[in-house]
């Protein structure tokens, strides 16, 4: 019995980097096969080859025992391969239905689109697999988590047999991850075969039938959940022992750095996003904000960093009122912001790395004298930061788009951490990153905390929030419905709070 999918000797080189090095992979029918690896390990490249976005320099792809040439995604779709990408391929100004049927449009007559038929099918798939979404919603209005559901519906709409999911659980709550796993298991039991790309060791051990680990472009090994542990997988991915549990010392609390009172913020559509939120963060502590994406966290962070207008309430940093301050003023008060969407907000991808390393400090001495930029100083600082923060790039003058996601994030971290800061607002700082990078960034955040920086950590990754924070606030529908000390917080408790279910006894808002 042939495996339904086989990759043999796949090799792919980009200028300066060997992305895939004679990779062999096989997938059986009805199997859930996890592909694990650091950023830059070559997982996404490999899957892009399978999906026809790249052509391999060497190697072959066999589907159902037949050698196939996949030149573009259409070929891949013809062969029954569907891919949900880590970076979406949705058109923001189209509706859900339009995005789903793009390329396989239902026709009423001649050239007239039949949106109703497509929307009906979308609703069917939606309810059959529990992927709730409004077919008429505009994609750009949807939160990231819901956009992901659209991507999954897209491939189910095209009757894919081989499904590739690239880091699909990045934006889901524990309960939603369970739902997704149910879906995946039912798909597998109905004969679909799945490749599940992830860096989340716990999840991979939960859902996968087999696990293949990639490192630096080659296969390190293939194992099963029965034979592997988190530690053994991490070691395979990184090549050394990895510390998975953060060493959390008891906090040395200082003065109140961030004081938020009655904060009210509206979103782009005029709806209330942040509803009278109040909290404080002290020097030396980490306050984590947990919650499902789309409950106001994004708008909260935007408001605190000057990127969104505050319509009510007050925000102050070290006693200074910054409610109506500009992003630059907020930065100058000693705030650092690691943004949720690093490619959109945190970096100019077409600019060289060295420019991004001073993206918000270019106007300050020594980088500038008056209006004139001092490139030698900028380059000096850039080289230093690349070294200090172990940013993997052949040159600081290459466009930042060349860097992997993890290294792009390191550029942002290097930039923000290279100046004296009193408050760090980190929004999903390890989104899409591999175990090695996550460990690195968590350690740097802890370092800052030890130095006395107040840290506000906003993340839908419960593991991250739980392991780093001293106190955990849960946001639901724009309100902070609870703040718990970390020691009292369990996944179940937080999961319920994230879904809006509060405990019977009143919970103190300030710890």
């Amino acid at each position: 019995m042939h495996p339904i999918l086989e990759l043999r000797g796949i090799t792919k080189t980009f200028p300066g980097v060997l992305a895939n090095d004679h990779i062999d992979l096989s997938l059986n029918k009805g199997e859930i096969h996890a592909l694990l690896g650091e950023n830059g390990a070559g997982k996404t490249t490999l899957m892009n080859i399978l999906y026809g976005l790249y052509t391999p320099d060497e190697g072959d792809v066999y589907i159902r025992g037949q050698r196939v040439d996949i030149h573009d995604p259409n070929d891949a779709i013809q062969h029954g391969i569907g891919m949900v990408h880590q970076h979406f391929m949705l058109i923001p100004v189209f509706t859900v239905t339009e995005n789903v049927m793009l390329g396989v449009e239902s026709i009423k007559v001649g050239v007239l689109l039949d949106r109703e038929a497509a929307a009906k099918r979308v609703r069917e798939i939606s309810s059959q697999f529990g992927l709730l979404v409004d077919p008429d919603a505009m994609v750009e209005d949807l939160p990231v988590g819901v956009q992901q559901r659209v991507e999954i519906i897209k491939i189910l709409y095209r009757e894919a047999d081989i499904l590739i999911l690239d880091e699909p659980t990045a934006v889901l709550t524990p309960q939603e991850v369970e739902e997704l796993f149910k879906i995946i298991r039912s798909l597998a039991s109905q004969g679909k075969s799945l490749v599940f790309i992830s860096h989340k060791l716990k999840e991979v051990l939960t859902i996968a039938d087999r696990i293949t680990v990639l490192r630096d472009g080659h296969v390190v090994g293939t194992t099963t959940p029965a034979e592997a542990t988190e530690a053994s997988l991490a070691k395979m991915m990184v090549g050394r022992e990895v510390i998975l549990k953060v060493d959390k010392k008891p906090p040395q609390l200082g003065e109140v750095v961030l004081d938020v009172e009655g904060l009210t913020v509206y979103d782009d559509r005029g709806f209330l996003a942040v509803d009278g939120v109040s909290f404080q963060v002290r020097a030396g502590e980490i306050l984590g904000v947990a919650g499902v994406q789309g409950n106001g966290q994004t708008q909260l962070v935007e408001a605190l960093t000057g990127l969104r207008q505050i319509d009510g309430g007050m925000v102050s940093v070290l006693g200074q009122d910054i409610t109506h301050a500009s992003p630059r003023q907020i930065m100058e008060v000693g705030t650092a912001h690691v943004p949720e969407d690093r490619q959109q907000d945190g970096l100019v991808l077409s600019f060289p790395v060295v420019d991004n390393l001073v993206l918000n400090t270019y106007y300050l001495p020594p980088f500038a004298k008056g209006i004139s930029l001092k490139h030698d100083e900028i380059e000096k600082a850039g080289s230093k930061r690349v070294e200090l923060f172990d940013i993997r790039t052949p040159s600081i003058f290459l466009p930042t788009s060349n860097l992997s996601g993890g290294n792009q994030q390191k550029v942002i971290v290097a930039r923000e951490f290279s100046r004296p800061i009193r408050l760090l607002i980190a929004s999903q700082p390890t989104r899409g990153l591999d175990v090695g990078s996550i460990e690195y960034i968590h350690n740097r955040i802890m370092e800052k905390r030890d130095e006395g920086t107040a840290v506000l950590l906003v993340s839908p990754e419960l593991d991250e929030v739980m392991s780093l924070s001293h106190r955990i606030a849960v946001m639901f529908e724009g309100k902070i419905i609870a703040i718990l000390p970390a020691v009292e917080a369990t996944k179940e408790k937080l999961g319920l709070l994230m879904a809006g279910i509060q405990e019977q006894e009143p919970v103190p808002v300030h710890a």
Partner: protein
């Protein structure tokens, strides 16, 4: 020719598939698409131009009717027609080599300069034509760098012309080192204001600058009509202003008949200035940031509204300089038809030059030479000047749609990128 995978020796050496010679040049010279592409575009445009020249020549067409009787004769007529046309073009752009050589010999012998000037006149004319192109091309290029489409360069250069001509003829007793800078400043300021208005509208209301700059063009044209027929009209009832004082001239560098004036070197200097500004200053970095990624620019603390206004004002100022240079350096007065569409061609130039000052200068020189030679091509070889417009248009098409060139010459894009349409997970 498709890539043939070759065995790689170690993990480090990149695979070397066989490629055709153009692909090899392309790869070896790294980021050459910004240079190779325009060169191939120009070459392809000239080839197609040759075909059009042949096909539009009555002699060639009649000859081809008798192809089977005398194929070699027909081919040779075709070849000679095209060859003569392009030789005429070359001579019109640069001058006739024989004439130049003789004039140099003459000058060596007798010290006579007049024949020398005559011989280099075509070359000088081409540079004269290129001068306003450089300014206007820089204007649009700077706009593009800031993420803005300045379609109003034509109107801005009219305003620049009006303002500078007014200062030019209004004062008669100023020394040149006061009068000339004053006139230049007037042209710059007028262009800057004309550009800042749509800039301000975009920054405050989000109104698209394409619409507004086009509208401003119409206003500028009608304003010019009104002023040249009314308040600024010279004697004689024609819509022409009086001449500017010589103290406001951009001086000619050589005696007549060479028309090349200091404006050309001013243009080169301004190109260098624009380069310095965009890449070596904080404001320039901010403009480029807003153009490349306005979200990140906001995050980085850049004030988007004021940057947009600044970008449009600077762009308008540069376009104003184009009009100013024409008035102060060539016409020495303002007439209604003083611009032959520089503002609109400049959009193509900015694209051709990849929105980089050096590219813009080279592209402007190219267009200047093509335009310069067009007249001679018509008078000597009987090829209509419109052929040059066609060639220019083809160059623009090839640059705007590089896939055509890639397809023709089978150059594969080196970096296959992910086609991200919506921003999702980081």
């Amino acid at each position: 020719m498709s890539e043939k995978p070759a065995a790689s020796e170690t993990a480090e050496t990149p695979v070397e598939p066989t490629k055709n010679i153009l692909q090899r040049i392309f790869v070896r010279t790294g980021k050459l698409s910004s240079l190779l592409l325009p060169i191939l575009a120009v070459f392809s445009a000239l080839v197609i131009g040759a075909v059009i020249i042949a096909v539009s020549s009555p002699d060639v067409l009649t000859a081809w009717k008798a192809f089977f009787q005398d194929p070699l004769g027909v081919l040779s007529i075709t070849w000679f027609t095209v060859r003569d046309a392009y030789i005429a073009l070359f001579e019109g752009s640069f001058g006739q080599p024989k004439q130049i050589a003789e004039a140099i010999r003459n000058w060596r012998g007798t010290g006579e300069t007049r024949p020398l000037l005559e011989a280099f006149r075509p070359f000088s004319e081409s540079l004269v034509i290129a001068t306003p192109y450089i300014f206007a091309g820089l204007a649009v290029a700077l706009g593009f760098r800031g993420g803005l489409f300045n379609i109003g360069a034509e109107g801005q250069l009219f305003l620049g012309g009006l303002a500078s001509v007014y200062v030019g003829y209004s004062f008669t007793n100023l020394p040149w080192f006061v009068h000339l800078p004053l006139a230049l400043l007037a042209g710059i300021a007028a262009g800057a204001i004309w550009g800042a208005i749509p800039g301000f509208l975009k920054a405050r209301t989000g109104a698209h600058e394409v619409i507004n700059t086009i509208m401003m063009n119409y206003v500028a044209f009608r304003l010019t009509d009104y002023l040249l027929q009314g308040p600024m009209a010279g004697p004689g009832g024609l819509p022409i202003t009086i001449e500017i004082a010589t103290s406001a001239y951009l001086p000619s560098l050589f005696p007549k008949p060479m028309r090349i004036h200091a404006g050309f070197f001013l243009a080169l200097a301004v190109a260098a200035l624009v380069y310095w500004f965009l890449w070596k200053t904080t404001r320039g970095l901010e403009i480029r940031m807003v153009g490349a990624n306005p979200h990140a620019a906001r995050y980085a603390g850049v004030r988007i509204t004021s940057t947009i206004v600044l970008t449009m004002a600077l762009s308008g100022a540069l376009a104003g300089l184009a009009g100013t240079a024409q008035v102060l350096g060539v016409n020495h007065k303002m007439v209604r038809a003083f611009s032959t569409g520089y503002g609109f061609d400049s959009i193509a130039l900015a694209l051709l030059g990849n929105s980089h000052p050096l590219g813009v200068v080279l592209a402007s020189l190219l267009f200047g030479f093509l335009r310069g030679g067009a007249a001679r091509m018509q008078s000597v070889a009987g090829v209509p000047v419109e052929i040059i417009r066609i060639i220019q248009a083809l160059v623009i098409i090839f640059v705007a749609a590089p896939e055509i060139i890639r397809g023709i010459y089978r150059i594969k894009a080196i970096r296959e990128g992910e086609k991200t349409l919506a921003r999702g997970w980081g």
